[in-house]
C-alpha cells in the first residue's frame, strides 16, 4: 500500500501503523509450530468416522461386530452409545426475538445429533466411529461396519426443497423451511419499484463454495479420571466458545471441568468456529477408554463434513431514474442451509447477507427476504466474507445491469449513488447503521489508480491479440466488529460477543498480554504486543501474548468476522490504559507530587515540568511488585482486565477494479490487473493487513473463476477432493495494485475496522462484471459463477446459458 489518506494519530507512542516484523513467522518457516495433527499425547488412540455414503436414507440397522474383531480396534460406537448427549446447538436464530419461529434451547428443530441413528441426511453424515491403536487400523475397520439403508429421495437445492412434494429432511420441520426472514420496508420498496422509470432484474446463483483451509480439522480429547477434567485440543477459531457450547449445552458437564486448547491453527476462514460431532466424540470416547483419543480429518472428509458457504438462489430487482439515481432494491433469496443448522449458519444466510444488500449506496427503499431451507447437502456456515460477499455480488451485478440499461457508465452510476460523507452515521434502512466513511474519496482513488479512463484503448489493443478485455467495478460495505452484545441478541445470537484482555506486568518490567481471541494465522502475537507496547510506551519485544487456552485466558469469542483488531485489540488498549492510570496514581506516591502533576509519557512517569523526577516503567513494575509504601487505596501489583463490548458494529468499505482478458478461442478468463482500495480504519500492523488483503482477493477470485461445490442429483458431492475442487494457484493471479483510505471507526478506542476478510467481499462481483463487460456486445447480460472456460466459450459462441 502506498499513499495514506486522512490518517489520524492514536493516543499511543506511534508504534501502531508500523509494519513490525511478524514474530510468529520464523517458527512457522522452520516448521516448528504444533498443529493439532502434531499433538502426540502418551497412550493416544485414534478415531475414524464412518460418514454416510448416500445423501438421504432411513437407517434400518447398523452391524458393528465384524469391525470390533479387527486388529487394534478398541471401540466401535454408534448413536445408541450416546443417547444422553444433547444435539449440537445452533446459536444464531434468524430474527432473534422477532423470529417467525420461537427460540429453541438447541437452536432449532433439526439440530444435529453427535451421531445420526435414525436417518442420514447428507453424504458424510456421521453414523459411527471406530477407535483403534493406529489411524490406519481405525480407518480399515470402518469398512467392516455394515449399515442397512432404506433410500429416500434427495433434494440439494433450497428452492426445490421448499416446493410441494419435496423430500422431507426433519419430521419436526415440515416443508423444510428453517426460517423466513425479512429486513427493510417491503411496501415502500414495492411502491418505488412500481413507480420507477427504469427497473432491471436478475436471477442469480451464488454457488456453494468450500473454504478449504489447507489444514483439515482435527481434535484430541483427553479425560483425566483423577480430576474429572476434560481437555480438548482442537483446530478451532473460538476455544472459549467451543467450551461454552460443549460443556453447558452438549455434554452437560460443568464449565470449569472442560478446558479447550487451540494449538497453531492452519487457516479457517470461518469454518473452524463451528461445533462438529468429532469434538464431543473424542471427549466422550477418551473418558470411555481411559486414553487420549485423536482424530484428524482427511481432505475428502473435510469436503463432506466441514461447513460450506454462500449458496443462494436469488431474484433481485433494482429501480431507478433514467439519469442514474437508484430508487429501490429488492431481493428474494433461497438460502441452502444444508442438512442441519450449523452453529451460526442460519444467521449468516439471513442477517449477514440481507442487511448488507444496499452496499455503499444511498437508496431510499430496500427490502430483502430470505427463505432458509434444509436440503441433503453439507451444513452451511461462514465463508471468508460470509453474507457480505453474497450481498455485494447481487448489488454490484444489479448496478452494472442498470448502467447498461440506461446507457450510462457504470462508474458514473456508482459515483452518483454513494452515501455522501455528511450523512454518517448512516442508517441503511435494512438494519445497519454505518459508523463512518468517505466513500467518494475511496471510490475516486480506485478509479484513478486502476487507469479506468484508458480502458477503451486497452480494449482495442487486446482485440488485436484475440482477447476481449473487460473491466469490472465493485464496491462494498462489510459489517465487522461482531459485535455489540445487545445488538447481537436482536439478531438472534445466543451468546456474549464481547472480547477480553488481561495485562500482567511482571516485577522485571516484562509484560504478559492474555486475550480471549485465538489466531488462525492472523499474527496476534505480533499485533497485540504492538498495541500494548504502543499504549505503555515500552519496547514491544518485552511484551508476550498468550491466547488459545481457556484455562489461562479470559473469555472471548474468538477470531471470526474480521474482529480481532477491532474487538480484542481495543480490549488490550483499554487494559493498558488502566495500567497507565494506576501508574499515575502510584507515581504520585513514588515521585512525591500530587496526582495531577504526574505525567505518563514514553514508558515513564515524571513530574510535570520536571523530567528529572521520574521513574521508568521497569522501576515502577518492580516497586508495584514490592508494594512498599503504597497507600491502602492502591493495591500492589499491576494486573488488569477489560471486557470490551462496543456500542455498535464497524463498517469497513472499499472499491475494487478487475481487468480481465477473455480468450476468444478458448473462453479462458485471465485476470490481468486488479486494483483494490480498502478502508479498514486505523491499521495496527500494515504487514498483516496487506497479506490478508492479498489472500482475500485471491479467495474472491476463486469463487468467480473456478470454485464450486457441485452436488449430483443423488446428492453425491462431486467436488469432494482437490482434484475436483479447484483452488486458485499462484499462476492464476497477477500482482495487485493496493491502496487504502483511512476512516477511523468511532466505535472502538483504536479507530479500527475489520480487515481480515473484507477484501474477499467484492472480487467475485468485479470479475463477473468485467467478463460480462467483455462479452456485452454479444448480448451477454449475465453469466453464473464460476466462469469456467467452457461456460464462457459457450457464451462466446452465442449459446444462451
Amino acid at each position: 500500500m502506498t499513499a495514506v489518506t486522512g490518517e489520524t494519530p492514536t493516543t499511543g507512542s506511534g508504534l501502531l501503523g508500523q509494519p513490525l516484523d511478524i514474530r510468529e513467522d520464523p517458527q512457522l518457516l522452520r516448521g516448528e509450530a504444533t498443529y493439532v495433527g502434531d499433538i502426540d499425547l502418551p497412550g493416544t488412540a485414534h478415531m475414524a468416522i464412518l460418514g454416510s455414503p448416500v445423501a438421504h436414507a432411513k437407517i434400518l440397522s447398523i452391524e458393528t461386530k465384524a469391525a470390533e474383531q479387527l486388529p487394534g480396534v478398541l471401540k466401535v460406537a454408534t448413536a445408541a452409545d450416546f443417547t444422553d448427549v444433547m444435539p449440537l446447538p445452533c446459536i444464531w436464530i434468524p430474527g432473534g426475538v422477532e423470529s417467525h419461529f420461537p427460540p429453541h434451547p438447541y437452536g432449532l428443530p433439526g439440530a444435529r445429533p453427535v451421531l445420526t441413528g435414525d436417518a442420514v441426511r447428507h453424504v458424510g453424515d456421521p453414523i459411527a466411529v471406530v477407535v483403534a491403536e493406529t489411524p490406519r487400523q481405525a480407518h480399515a475397520a470402518l469398512a467392516a461396519i455394515s449399515v442397512e439403508y432404506e433410500p429416500l429421495s434427495v433434494v440439494t437445492r433450497a428452492d426445490e426443497a421448499l416446493a410441494e412434494g419435496a423430500p422431507q429432511l426433519h419430521e419436526a420441520v415440515p416443508g423444510n423451511l428453517n426460517a423466513y426472514w425479512t429486513c427493510g420496508d417491503k411496501d415502500r420498496t414495492d411502491a418505488a419499484i412500481a413507480e420507477a422509470e427504469v427497473t432491471v432484474e436478475l436471477d442469480l446463483v451464488n454457488q456453494r463454495t468450500i473454504n478449504s483451509p489447507i489444514e483439515p480439522r482435527g481434535a484430541v480429547g483427553d479425560y483425566n479420571a483423577v480430576t474429572g477434567e476434560y481437555t480438548l485440543y482442537a483446530s478451532t477459531q473460538g476455544p472459549h466458545n467451543h467450551r461454552f457450547l460443549l460443556s453447558a449445552l452438549v455434554l452437560g458437564i460443568p464449565f470449569n471441568k472442560l478446558r479447550v486448547i487451540a494449538p497453531t491453527v492452519g487457516g479457517s476462514f470461518g469454518t473452524k468456529g463451528y461445533l462438529y460431532p468429532d469434538m464431543p466424540l473424542v471427549l466422550l470416547l477418551s473418558k470411555a477408554l481411559g486414553r487420549p483419543v485423536k482424530w484428524v480429518d482427511t481432505r475428502t472428509g473435510l469436503m463432506n463434513s466441514t461447513v460450506q458457504g454462500r449458496d443462494h438462489r436469488q431474484h433481485v430487482t433494482l429501480a431507478g431514474t433514467r439519469d442514474g439515481r437508484i430508487t429501490a432494491v429488492r431481493a428474494t433469496s433461497y438460502a441452502n442451509l444444508g442438512a442441519y443448522p450449523s452453529t451460526i449458519g442460519p444467521g449468516v444466510a439471513t442477517a449477514l447477507m440481507g442487511r448488507s444488500i444496499s452496499g455503499m449506496y444511498d437508496i431510499p427503499a430496500a427490502f430483502c427476504e430470505v427463505y432458509a431451507a434444509f436440503t441433503n447437502t453439507v451444513s452451511l456456515g461462514a465463508q471468508r466474507g460470509s453474507g457480505r460477499a453474497e450481498a455485494a455480488f447481487l448489488m454490484e451485478r444489479l448496478v452494472d445491469r442498470y448502467a447498461s440499461e440506461i446507457g450510462m457508465d457504470p462508474a458514473a452510476v456508482r459515483r452518483k449513488n454513494l452515501v455522501p460523507k455528511e450523512k454518517f452515521p448512516y442508517d441503511n434502512g435494512l438494519g445497519w447503521t454505518y459508523d463512518s466513511g468517505n466513500y467518494q474519496l475511496n471510490f475516486d482513488k480506485a478509479i484513478a489508480l486502476s487507469g479506468y479512463a484508458d480502458m477503451a484503448a486497452r480494449k482495442a489493443e487486446a482485440r488485436t491479440r484475440g482477447k476481449r478485455l473487460g473491466v469490472g467495478l465493485a464496491t462494498y460495505v462489510a459489517i465487522c466488529g461482531v459485535g455489540p452484545s445487545t445488538r447481537m441478541s436482536q439478531e438472534g445470537m445466543l451468546g456474549g460477543t464481547w472480547e477480553s484482555a488481561n495485562i500482567r506486568v511482571h516485577p522485571t518490567g516484562e509484560v504478559s498480554v492474555t486475550v480471549g481471541s485465538a489466531s488462525t494465522g492472523q499474527s496476534h502475537g505480533t499485533v497485540f504486543a504492538q498495541v500494548a507496547a504502543d499504549e505503555l510506551g515500552i519496547d514491544p519485544d518485552t511484551v508476550q501474548v498468550f491466547e488459545g487456552d481457556t484455562q489461562k485466558a479470559p473469555y472471548g469469542q474468538g477470531t471470526y468476522g474480521s474482529r480481532s483488531y477491532s474487538m480484542a485489540a481495543p480490549a488490550v488498549a483499554l487494559t493498558a490504559r488502566k495500567i497507565k492510570a494506576k501508574l499515575v496514581r502510584a507515581g504520585a506516591v513514588f515521585l512525591g507530587v500530587p496526582e495531577d502533576k504526574v505525567v505518563y509519557e514514553g514508558g515513564k512517569v515524571h513530574e510535570e515540568g520536571n523530567e528529572e523526577n521520574s521513574k521508568t516503567f521497569a522501576e515502577l513494575a518492580m516497586a508495584m511488585w514490592y508494594g512498599w509504601g503504597l497507600p491502602p487505596e492502591i493495591e500492589p501489583a499491576l494486573d488488569e482486565t477489560t471486557h470490551f463490548d462496543p456500542p455498535d458494529f464497524n463498517y469497513p468499505f472499499g472499491t475494487h477494479v478487475a481487468v480481465v482478458e477473455v480468450d476468444e478461442l478458448t473462453g479462458e478468463t485471465e485476470v490481468v490487473a486488479y486494483t483494490a482500495v480498502d478502508d479498514a480504519g486505523n491499521i495496527g500492523n500494515p504487514k498483516i493487513v496487506h497479506g490478508q488483503i492479498e489472500g482475500s482477493i485471491v479467495h474472491g477470485l476463486g469463487q468467480a473463476l473456478m470454485e464450486i461445490a457441485e452436488y449430483a442429483e443423488d446428492g453425491q458431492l462431486i467436488s469432494s477432493d482437490l482434484n475436483h475442487y479447484a483452488l486458485p494457484r499462484a499462476a492464476d493471479v497477477p500482482f495487485f495494485v493496493l491502496d487504502k483510505t483511512v476512516t477511523p471507526s468511532p466505535h472502538n478506542p483504536l479507530g479500527a475496522k475489520g480487515a481480515g476478510e473484507i477484501a474477499t467481499v467484492p472480487p467475485a462481483a468485479a470479475v463477473v462484471n468485467a467478463v460480462v463487460d467483455a462479452l456485452s456486445d454479444l448480448g451477454v447480460r449475465h453469466i453464473d459463477m464460476p466462469l469456467t472456460p467452457e461456460k464462457v466459450w459457450r457464451r462466446l459462441r452465442g449459446e444462451a446459458r
Binding site: 513467522d25 517458527q27 497453531t264 494465522g521 497479506g691 490478508q692 489472500g695 499462484a730 499462476a731 500482482f735
Partner: protein, 156 residues
C-alpha cells in the same frame, strides 16, 4: 534411508507412504498433510535434492535415498536460510500450514538459480503451482522468492 543426514533403519511396510514414515514413524511433524490426492504440496520434501510430494511416494521406493525435510533445513530455533529469511521479510506465511512444503519446493528453485539467471515472476508462479496456500494469495511468497533468488544470484 538417510533422513536429514542421519541414517534411519526400520522394517519396510509395503503400503506405507513416505509422509507417514516421516511424521508417525520418525516424529518429523514439520511435514504437513493437507490433502489425500497430491494436490496441495504441504507434504513436499526433497528426495536426493529434488522436491517431491511425500504423500505420493511409498517409503520403500525412497529406500537408499537422501531425504531432506523442513527439520533438516535449520536447527531448532536456529538461523533461517536465505529463502526463509526472505519469506520472513515479505511475511510470506500466515497460518503457516502450507509453509514447510513451500520452503522445500522453493528451496530447489532458489538453489538452482545460484550464480545463474534469476527466474522471472511467471516462472516463480509456475514453480509454485504445486503448492496451495489459502492465506497469503501467494504475492508475498513470490516477492520472497524474488528476493531470495536475487540474493542467491549475487552471492556466487
Amino acid at each position: 534411508m538417510n533422513v536429514n543426514g542421519r541414517s534411519e533403519q526400520f522394517p519396510a511396510q509395503p503400503n506405507e507412504l513416505l509422509v507417514e514414515r516421516l511424521r508417525d514413524g520418525l516424529g518429523l511433524t514439520g511435514t504437513k498433510v493437507g490433502c489425500d490426492t497430491g494436490q496441495c504440496g504441504s507434504c513436499v520434501v526433497r528426495l536426493d535434492g529434488k522436491s517431491v510430494k511425500s504423500c505420493l511416494i511409498l517409503t520403500v521406493s525412497a529406500a537408499g535415498s537422501e531425504v531432506t525435510t523442513i527439520e533438516g533445513v535449520t536447527t531448532p530455533g536456529g538461523e533461517l536460510t536465505g529463502l526463509q529469511e526472505a519469506l520472513r521479510e515479505e511475511h510470506g506465511t500466515q497460518c503457516g500450514f502450507c509453509t514447510p512444503g513451500m520452503v522445500m519446493a522453493l528451496g530447489e528453485l532458489v538453489d538452482s538459480t545460484a550464480g545463474g539467471e534469476a527466474p522471472t515472476e511467471p516462472e516463480i508462479r509456475e514453480w509454485l503451482t504445486g503448492n496451495l496456500c489459502r492465506c497469503t494469495g501467494y504475492h508475498s511468497v513470490v516477492r520472497g522468492v524474488q528476493r531470495a533468488c536475487e540474493a542467491a544470484r549475487q552471492e556466487v
